[in-house]
């Protein structure tokens, strides 16, 4: 971002100053007590990098409209495969210059740098993804970004900005992958998405890191009048991962959904903090997260439906279900509701349970081996979320990746 325009350089300076000025997070704060920032390698000196221990094979570009790949935060040239006229897929640092009028009003507007994770990303990101789909254009094939870490550096940053104009339609996939690494590597990503009136966006975030990764991810979506935004987040990899999706219903009649699945095994620790904010009347939101936990892994789900005054006709749901597969695993679920409008329908549900012995027994009695029976049950459990991913190839890949973790 060497040639960044003055306004972008200024934002970076402020973010850097905020990093010094903001109190250091200790892990004693209510918001941080389940996943101390130190475990995310967010405090202390920059990790030195573990040294490369393998390479990542990128998936084929088949079926994508464009792809951007970043290795340790460094972008490769964009692979533009099939984009309709007017659609822009560009490296974000370059877009600051090339598409200033589109980028400037929106960058940092949903995820700023007043808090420590926001300031950290804003101060350090070097490259990212910019996607723009103009009014009325339907982008049928997904745009994919792949952020990889090799262990050569101790920090990997990514940032994505997506703009879907009125009546336009797009699918964007952000993929985070690495080989198993020895030492801690810190990853930070921020996704800001804007869906204008009548537009439609599906965003899939797939966290498929190898071991050694500590990742803080922020996802923010703004939906305009009658717009639809769907954020699907799949967390399978990394040692310590914290994902914070927030869906803003900014326009009346908007439809915002945050769906997620996570599967933590070994010593993995995942926290998901999922929020929907109804800032306009007659909007619909649905938060649905399902998790499986095995070995001595620990997962935390925090959800919040926020309905400030002045959002009558709100229709909002929140569900978190957890399947504990083995003794020693732990799940926390904390589904909040904060309602200040009377004309609402809101509900939430949280549950933690185990694989039903009877179901396993039944499948075994039909000749299915025990492990395969467990695979089927876990697969069935996640199906509700996987079904929401319209890109069939990715859906199959994720289902296979999740099933491969069952012990």
């Amino acid at each position: 971002m060497a040639d960044a325009p003055a306004w972008a350089a200024e934002a970076r300076t402020t973010a850097t100053a905020n990093l010094d000025a903001l109190p250091v997070l200790t892990g004693m704060e209510e918001e941080w007590r389940f996943t101390p920032p130190a475990d995310l390698a967010m405090t202390g000196p920059e990790p030195s990098g573990a040294g490369a221990t393998g390479t990542v094979v990128l998936p084929a570009t088949e079926g994508r409209s464009a792809r951007l790949a970043f290795t340790d935060g460094v972008p490769a040239p964009a692979e533009i495969i099939d984009l309709p006229d007017g659609v822009i897929v560009s490296e974000l640092g370059q877009a600051l210059i090339d598409h200033e009028s589109l980028v400037r009003p929106r960058l940092y507007s949903l995820a700023g740098f007043d808090d420590r994770p926001g300031a950290l990303n804003a101060a350090h990101w070097d490259a990212g993804t910019f996607v723009f789909v103009p009014r009325g254009v339907h982008l049928t094939l997904p745009v994919e970004t792949v952020l990889t870490a090799t262990g050569a550096t101790g920090r990997v940053f990514g940032r994505t900005l997506i703009i879907v104009e009125e009546g336009a339609k797009a699918t964007v996939v952000d993929r985070y992958v690495s080989p198993d690494l020895d030492g801690p590597v810190q990853a930070s990503s921020v996704v800001e998405m804007f869906v204008a009136e009548g537009g439609e966006l599906e965003h899939v975030s797939y966290i498929g890191w190898g071991s050694g990764m500590r990742h803080h991810a922020t996802i923010r979506a703004s939906t305009g009048k009658d717009a639809r935004a769907r954020s699907v987040n799949v967390t399978l990899g990394g040692d310590v991962v914290r994902v914070e999706p927030t869906m803003y219903c900014h326009g009346s009649g908007s439809d915002a959904r945050a769906l997620g699945m996570y599967f933590a095994t070994g010593n993995q620790h995942f926290e998901h903090r999922v929020v929907s904010r109804h800032e306009a009347p007659q909007a619909y939101s649905n938060l649905l997260y399902k998790g499986a936990i095995q070995d001595t892994a620990h997962t935390v789900f925090f959800g919040n439906l926020v309905v400030p005054p002045g959002a009558p006709g709100t229709d909002a749901y929140q569900t978190n279900r957890n399947l504990i597969l083995t003794e020693g695993a732990r799940a926390d679920t904390i589904p909040f509701l904060e309602i200040e409008t009377a004309e609402v329908k809101c509900s939430h549900a949280g549950a933690v349970g185990r694989v039903d012995d009877e179901q396993v027994f039944y499948l075994m009695s039909r000749g299915v081996p025990e492990l395969e029976a467990k695979h089927l049950i876990v697969y069935g459990f996640f199906q509700e979320v996987l079904d929401q991913i319209s890109f069939g190839e990715l859906r199959d890949e994720l289902a296979a990746a999740a099933r491969a973790k069952v012990r």
């Binding site: 679920t333 909040f336 509701l337 409008t341 509900s347 939430h348 933690v352 185990r354």
Partner: protein, 468 residues
């Protein structure tokens, strides 16, 4: 609120808002320090260990922060509170022994009348100490101990000391530390093995003075196979200066015993009600909290059950109603420590006229609590646009074969329900009241009849004038 500053807040719906002229036997100065704590202990002629316990608790309190979560405590000034007021120089065993002005208060509250009809024992606390106490003779003969906590320390010191602060130590939280330093009054109950107390024991807590702090301390021990239902009610006059009620309630329910603890809290809306309540349930024991929060400016109260013995069961039924200027931050905590334990939390809350209700709860399944089962259901009704309802459920599950569920809903009273009832000839207000009554029915039906009636009446009073 038009012309001159009124002496008291006008709150037409609060029936218990009068106060009596103050006529105290001992009334220390406002404020809190080690001398005040020593003075309270000396006035009560306490053994040295208790004085030390109080002073140690004061140190803990002073080292703690005031919680910044839950409700807004920023205008609570701990130096502007009376920590101990002695209203009578001795305790009555009959109402005739109670000073006239205080007896009048309890007459107006209807306590002596209720005692004759429904209760096995009554304790009445006025400011810091219990002024009246009685228990049915047959229970006394069976060995049931029901007295105020100060008397228990004097007369049953050994038993008292065995259990005191074992469930809620002073370091548990800021307000438990404060209570431990300045506690006074409350009930002490010991139910011998196998004794079933068939009708409820009741305590009534009344704050009369302005800027009063009431810090009662209740300790209940149910020996194996016993049963008791303890009921408490609370009111205070409506003043412009705030009062503080910060109680600690500890309960031990031993093997196969059952304890039910019902509270209908109807403090006036200038009282901060910050209470720690916790029970330990042993093998096959049952602990039930029925918790009605209808009054106070701010309540922060989360009755807890620690299920430490196999097959122990915990239950919390909670009703909260918040009107103008009120915040009810109420809920429950269930901690499953032993296998095959089960718990249920049912919370119903109603917000109206700008009031705020929050459900805040914790369900924790510790490693080893195999086959634990927990269910949490929270329903909230919002009666108008200005009110607020929050749900803050925490669930921490560390056992593979636990089965935990939580459900919550927030809704407005449906217009078509109101319309239907009005078409059958009810006024809008009556229709609304009927719907609210139906909403809390699952909890009201668990209360003794006269309390259920009282609960419904209090809710109707709060709703008066809320429509139109």
């Amino acid at each position: 609120m038009s012309t001159a500053k009124p002496e008291i807040d006008i709150d037409t719906t609060y029936k218990y808002g009068w106060h009596d002229p103050a006529n105290y036997v001992f009334e220390p100065k406002k404020g809190l320090n080690a001398d005040v704590v020593r003075e309270i202990s000396a006035l009560k002629n306490e053994p040295e260990w208790m004085t030390k316990f109080r002073l140690r608790s004061l140190e803990i309190f002073e080292s703690r922060e005031i919680p910044d979560w839950g409700g807004d405590l920023s205008s609570l000034d701990f130096q502007d509170i009376f920590y101990f007021i002695r209203a009578a120089d001795h305790q009555g065993r009959s109402w005739d022994d109670v000073p006239d002005d205080i007896r009048n208060t309890f007459d107006r509250l209807g306590i002596p009348e209720a005692e004759q009809k429904f209760l096995a024992g009554v304790s009445a606390q006025y400011e810091s100490e219990v002024v009246y106490h009685s228990i049915r003779e047959d229970l006394e003969e069976k060995g049931v101990i029901f007295c105020d906590t100060d008397t228990a320390l004097r007369e049953h010191e050994e038993l008292f000391r065995e259990y005191w602060a074992t469930v809620i130590p002073p370091g548990d939280n800021t307000f438990a530390a404060l209570n431990s330093a300045v506690w006074s009054g409350g009930s002490f109950i010991w139910i011998p093995p196998g004794v079933q107390v068939d009708i409820p024991l009741q305590a009534y807590f009344r704050i009369n003075a302005e800027s009063m702090g009431q810090f009662e301390r209740t300790l209940i021990i149910c020996e194996p196979g016993s049963y008791v239902h303890y009921v408490e009610g609370c009111t205070a006059p409506t003043y412009s200066a705030d009062s503080l009620h910060s109680a600690v309630v500890e309960i031990i329910v031993k093997k196969g015993a059952r304890c039910r603890y019902s509270t209908i809290q109807n403090w006036s809306n200038n009282v901060y009600n910050l209470v720690t309540k916790r029970a330990v349930a042993h093998e096959d024991a049952v602990m039930e909290w029925i918790d009605g929060n209808l009054g106070s400016k701010l309540t922060m109260k989360y009755p807890a059950v620690w299920m430490v013995g196999p097959r122990a069961r915990g239950e919390v039924l909670s009703v909260a109603m918040a009107g103008p200027g009120m915040h009810q931050d109420a809920g429950a905590k269930m901690v499953h420590v032993a296998p095959d334990t089960s718990s249920t939390i049912i919370s119903k809350s109603i917000s109206q006229g700008g009031g705020r209700t929050s459900y805040r709860g914790l369900v924790k399944v510790e490693p080893g609590a195999r086959r634990a089962k927990a269910s949490v259901v929270c329903d909230a009704l919002l009666l108008d646009e200005d009110s607020r309802s929050d749900t803050y459920p925490y669930m921490d599950i560390q056992e593979e074969d636990a089965s935990i569920g939580h459900e919550a809903t927030v809704s407005k009273v449906a217009d078509d329900q109101i319309f239907y009832l009005m078409s059958r000839g009810l006024s809008e207000e009556a229709a609304m009241a009927m719907i609210v009554r139906g909403f809390i029915e699952p909890i009201a039906k668990e209360l003794p009849m006269e309390y259920a009636v009282e609960l419904n009446r209090l809710i109707e009073l709060q709703m008066e004038g809320s429509i139109g």
